[in-house]
């Protein structure tokens, strides 16, 4: 199935017949030849707006094989049963309880415990006790499922989060309830987890020097808010630069990316307004939307038909019950979705937004710097006009190797935010050395530092992305998302494989991120790689070799359509498997 010139395709291939055994492909599957796939594929929201795209838009979410899905559910079932069993054992003190407990004075007292009766004697009447802080089922998942594989998260590091990173070795003697640091450091672990897209997380070079200079001059804190007396000249300089970088009239910077969303959306919309939000939007957008008091409706992930239907219905039918027309409609989308690796269909979103007079809030947390020929994010990637996006939001945490967030847009918007943003009024402003890091890294991307370093980084990242994604697909993994997205989710599905993959990779000196429920749908557990311009070809090849090995070991190669390796690469038998029609 070949996308037409300038067209786009997004497909989920359905199974024709046959079965999958342990993730290996047997015969009976539709091979992804043009004719067969077109006949058997379920075409998901292929758009009629192919003309809007200036480049092919290839995004794939291969359907979960049925057997894998069933086994995954069975896996969770077994885990849950064991969880109940162990809870039962803990309750009767047969198994030792490792978790922290409520303070004795505040415990919900049970009638059986005699020793506490004395305390209670003072009160004649049987009084109410403290209501337990957590509901039992609330922590069931944490206690019985998460705890088994907890060692895959929060791994402490003790170096720059660059292409390679030093991880502090830790060990648990009580089944992950607590960790002891052995004092050893695992050196030079290949870092596939940090959002260091352009490789600006460095402790040497111009950014670090500039930041150090400002640190010595200004100190680290500000001790006031922007509106009071925490508005430094550096902040103004940064905002002016961000506006130029984005190609918008004005911009404003905030101290935390998460708070940029959650504290500014309420300033923009309120009661009587409608928010249309992608179902996979980040927690900060969801929180901001909730805090705003506006009505929230969810459209299917990156699905333009769903969005258009909601827009149409909203305008035609107005607010529920009162039937008044909506005051305004705000569409919330992200540039790159950090768990799916998909890129927003921005040309279509903009077309819809114009057609229905809605406003667009674009969160470029992961895409700014990481996409587009000049690193200006998803707008640049599609070759669109930044004027068409009403609110351009992004963070400095990822590509710029700093922290904080920004909002860019028209002068009126920024003026309004300067006066009404919760963040400007109540929150401490950005730390000066952090500001300086952003300024120098941004200037570098813009080429204002007199080198072509920034441009090379952007290109390197794009190359790394294409190469890494293609190789993984050739190996037969199910990889989600857009072929240009530096966020690469590799599907693991089964709960046991989450832990196994993370550990096996660390054993092979590669740090990866694994995610499961509740960050993903229950059966779609995955590993996620974040590519970086700092990754060299050698690093990527090493990582790919190990992933391939672990993939075989854990039988993760679920994909039923194999890519034929491109001819410009030496023939590699590990990545090539003929499938029969």
């Amino acid at each position: 199935m070949r996308p037409g010139p300038g067209g786009c395709c997004c497909r989920r291939t359905v199974r024709a017949n046959g079965c999958v055994a342990n993730g290996e492909v047997r015969n009976g599957y539709v091979r992804t030849s043009a004719a067969a796939a077109a006949a058997a594929s379920q075409i998901h929201h292929v758009t009629q707006n192919g003309g809007l795209y200036k480049r092919p838009f290839n995004e794939a979410f291969e359907e979960t094989p049925m057997l894998v899905a069933v086994l995954t559910y069975v896996g969770y079932g077994v885990l849950t049963l064991f969880g109940y069993l162990r809870d039962f054992l803990r309750h009767w003190r047969i198994e030792k309880c490792h978790h922290a407990t409520e303070r004795e004075e505040q415990k919900k007292k049970k009638k059986k415990k005699k020793k506490k009766e004395t305390k209670k004697k003072k009160k004649k009447k049987r009084e109410m006790d403290f209501v337990s802080l957590y509901q039992d089922f609330e922590n069931f998942y944490t206690r019985n499922l998460y705890m088994r594989i907890r060692d895959n998260w929060n791994r402490p590091i003790c170096s720059v989060p660059g292409a390679r990173v030093d991880i502090m070795e830790r060990q648990s003697y009580d089944y992950n309830w607590s960790f002891k640091y052995t004092g050893n450091i695992i050196k030079g672990v290949i870092n596939m987890g940090s959002y260091n897209y352009l490789g600006f997380a460095r402790n040497t070079g111009s950014c670090q020097e500039a930041a150090a200079k400002i640190l010595e001059e200004y100190g680290v804190g500000v001790c006031s808010t922007r509106q009071e007396i925490g508005n430094l000249d550096k902040h103004e300089e940064l905002e002016e630069l961000v506006a130029r970088f984005l190609g918008v009239e004005a911009a404003m910077a905030y101290g935390m990316g998460f708070a940029t969303n959650s504290m500014n959306i309420p300033a923009l919309v309120g009661k009587g307004c409608l928010i249309l939000s992608d179902e996979l939007n980040h927690a900060s957008l969801v929180l901001g939307a909730r805090l705003s008091g506006a009505t929230i409706r969810i459209f299917k992930h990156n699905n333009m038909q769903s969005l258009e239907k909601l827009l149409k219905d909203a305008i035609v039918y107005g607010q529920p019950r009162t039937r008044r027309p909506w005051k305004k409609i705000l569409i919330l989308v992200e540039g790159i979705y950090s768990m799916e690796g998909s890129i927003v269909r921005l040309p279509e979103v903009i077309a819809l937004k114009k057609k229905y007079k809605a406003y667009l809030y674009l969160d470029e947390a992961h895409s700014i710097g990481a996409l587009g020929p000049t690193g200006r994010g998803v707008v640049d990637y599609f070759g669109l006009d930044p004027e068409d996006v009403d609110v351009m939001m992004g963070t400095f945490t990822k590509s710029f190797g700093a922290s904080g967030g920004y909002i860019g847009g028209k002068k009126e918007l920024i003026d309004y935010l300067r006066t009404h943003s919760h963040s400007a009024v109540y929150a401490t402003s950005l730390s000066p050395p952090v500001v300086e890091q952003i300024i120098t890294s941004m200037k570098c991307i813009m080429g204002q530092d007199g080198t072509s370093l920034g441009k090379e980084c952007v290109q390197q990242l794009a190359e790394n992305t294409r190469y890494f994604r293609r190789r993984l697909k050739e190996m037969g993994f199910i990889i989600y998302g857009n072929e240009d997205s530096p966020v690469v989710p590799l599907m693991l599905y089964m709960p046991a494989k989450i832990g196994a993959f993370g550990r096996e990779m660390l054993k092979r000196n590669i740090g990866v991120v694994v995610v499961g429920f509740p960050a993903t749908p229950i059966i779609e557990s995955r590993a996620r790689f974040c590519l970086s311009a700092a990754h060299t070809k050698e690093i990527l090849d090493t990582a790919l070799k190990e992933i391939d090995e672990v993939g075989d070991l854990l039988q993760l190669k679920y994909s039923r359509h194999r890519l034929v390796p491109l001819l410009d690469r030496p023939f590699d038998e590990t990545t090539y498997e003929e499938t029969e029609d």
């Binding site: 929060n154 170096s159 670090q208 508005n231 000249d233 890091q437």
Partner: protein
């Protein structure tokens, strides 16, 4: 007998049926059908189907005009043009090109430009770079973060501490991690904006009590108890929280913690304490309001504070027992979903803690200075100082409001401007007037710092401030006749 009669009637009827003429039967049949039809048919016609045609829909879409994304901001909006500070915001500050003595930052301990703090931050910067490039869960946990958490827990004498990368997000994330829909939160009316947002995010039932009024709180708790007795099953799963601030950001007053703890055990509600202003200020060692009152810190379920005031870094932390705090590592939204604190800021906070631990004397110095300034600021005509004498943030408020908030703000702004002209940087406390639950009256906030080197010049400045600015009458003699609080006089003066 009865059965015989019945039978007879039945026979009669059947016979009559046979004998009846056909037209009669047909007529009756039609009548019966008619009745059935009447019974089952609706007597009125349903409204015409109201489905819109495609064309009508298009017209509606064409017609709809949304409001602009943001309303225009008037050019003279008091908050539109920020003061620009060039250079570091330390005790000498250059505001809009004019060098002033800084009375406006919350740099209480003077740690902002402390060379030791800077050196620690610099060392960290050289080791780790600036950003962390990830949330705590995904390779964003640095050894410095673990150290800082450890140090904070030790300093506060609690089991565990958790750090956030943004002060505002700390309490705003902590509250919704515990309090869910259906739970009840008792909260002081004067609670700061971060608490308000946290409560809003939690979607719990919020009960406001009068500022620092324990009788009012007890009344609400009692009401709730009566309510609970009506529905004990629900009460057993309804968590109760009391959310208070140690030193109120909006009023400068201290919460009556001992009474609160009593109420906590009496009514079984957990206490969340926000200590952003009191941490590093109150108590013999700067541990905040618990130390100030000598209360066992374990009696407070959760303490949250930011590291942006006394510690002069960025970020915030929560501390308490592991049973409580650990929950946030998976449920605190601002913790899980945000990039972690840049290591250099964490290193700065550690060094600041070191300094606090090494020099416990600074807290007494700070207190003494607060008391002096508080005294010095008393009895200024037209202005009154609100809040506790040991609060390092002074709130100057108009003794009598002019009646309109706008006017008050303008008047206070003129005072601030005048002070600025005389090289004293003050600031008005800013609020989002429409968003605040209980909007505090406009006021000037001034932060005080305790750095030993600058104390003399600072006290001088305070006297200056008192003499020249806030008590203009003392010099001009003209205002002395006017009664204290005469706004006209102040206005006349500030207009000069």
């Amino acid at each position: 007998m009865a059965t015989a009669t019945e039978q007879w009637v039945l026979v009669e009827m059947v016979q009559a049926l046979y004998e009846a003429p056909a037209y009669h039967l047909i007529l009756e049949g039609i009548l019966i059908l008619w009745i059935i039809r009447l019974l089952f048919s609706k007597t009125y016609k349903l409204q015409e189907r109201s489905d819109l045609t495609v064309k009508e829909k298009e017209e509606l879409i064409e017609e709809w005009q949304p409001e602009p994304l943001v309303p225009p901001v008037p050019k003279d909006h008091p908050a539109l043009n920020y003061n620009i500070v060039s250079g570091p915001p330390s005790h000498k500050i250059v505001v809009n090109g004019k060098e002033c003595i800084n009375f406006a930052s919350f740099n209480f301990l003077g740690l902002l430009d402390n060379p030791r703090v800077k050196a620690a931050a610099l060392a960290s910067l050289k080791k780790y770079g600036v950003g962390t490039c990830g949330p705590r869960g995904f390779y964003g946990t640095f050894d410095v973060h673990l150290d800082l958490e450890d140090r904070l827990a030790k300093f506060m004498k609690t089991e565990e501490a958790i750090i956030y990368s943004y002060g505002f997000a700390t309490i705003a994330s902590a509250i919704p991690a515990y309090s869910k829909r259906g739970d009840i939160v008792f909260v002081d009316r004067a609670a700061c904006f971060a608490i308000q947002k946290g409560l809003q995010a939690s979607r719990s039932d919020i009960k406001l009590f009068k500022h620092n009024d324990m009788a009012d709180l007890e009344r609400l708790l009692k009401e709730q108890e009566i309510e609970d007795q009506k529905n004990p099953r629900k009460a057993r799963v309804t968590r109760r929280f009391i959310v208070v601030e140690g030193l109120y950001m909006n009023t400068g007053t201290i919460c009556p913690l001992p009474e609160l703890v009593k109420l906590k055990y009496k009514y079984k509600a957990r206490i969340f304490l926000e200590e952003s202003l009191s941490f590093g200020v109150l108590g013999e060692h700067g541990r905040g309001v618990t130390e100030h009152y000598g209360i066992n810190i374990d009696d407070i379920d959760l303490i949250s504070a930011n590291m942006e005031n006394a510690l002069a870094s960025i970020g915030g932390f929560c501390c308490g027992r592991s049973f409580v705090i650990d929950h946030q590592r998976l449920s605190g939204q601002g913790y899980c979903f945000s990039a972690s604190l840049p290591p250099l800021l964490a290193a700065a906070a550690i060094e600041a803690l070191n300094i606090m631990e090494e020099n416990p004397g600074i807290f007494a110095v700070l207190k003494e200075k607060c008391r002096q300034i508080h005294k010095a600021l008393q009895g200024i005509s037209g202005l009154k100082v609100v809040g506790e004498s040991l609060s390092p943030a002074f709130h100057l408020q108009l003794e009598e409001s002019t009646g309109s908030r706008e006017q008050d703000v303008r008047l206070l702004q003129e005072i601030v401007d005048q002070c600025m002209n005389r090289s004293i940087a003050l600031t008005q406390a800013r609020y989002l007037e429409k968003e605040e639950k209980c909007l505090p009256p406009p006021r000037v906030v001034s932060g005080l710092e305790t750095s030993r080197f600058i104390w003399e010049c600072r006290l001088e400045a305070a006297e200056e401030l008192e003499k020249r600015v806030l008590r203009p009458g003392a010099k001009s003699g003209r205002l002395q006749e006017s009664p204290p609080g005469s706004l006209n006089a102040l206005l006349a003066w500030s207009a000069r």
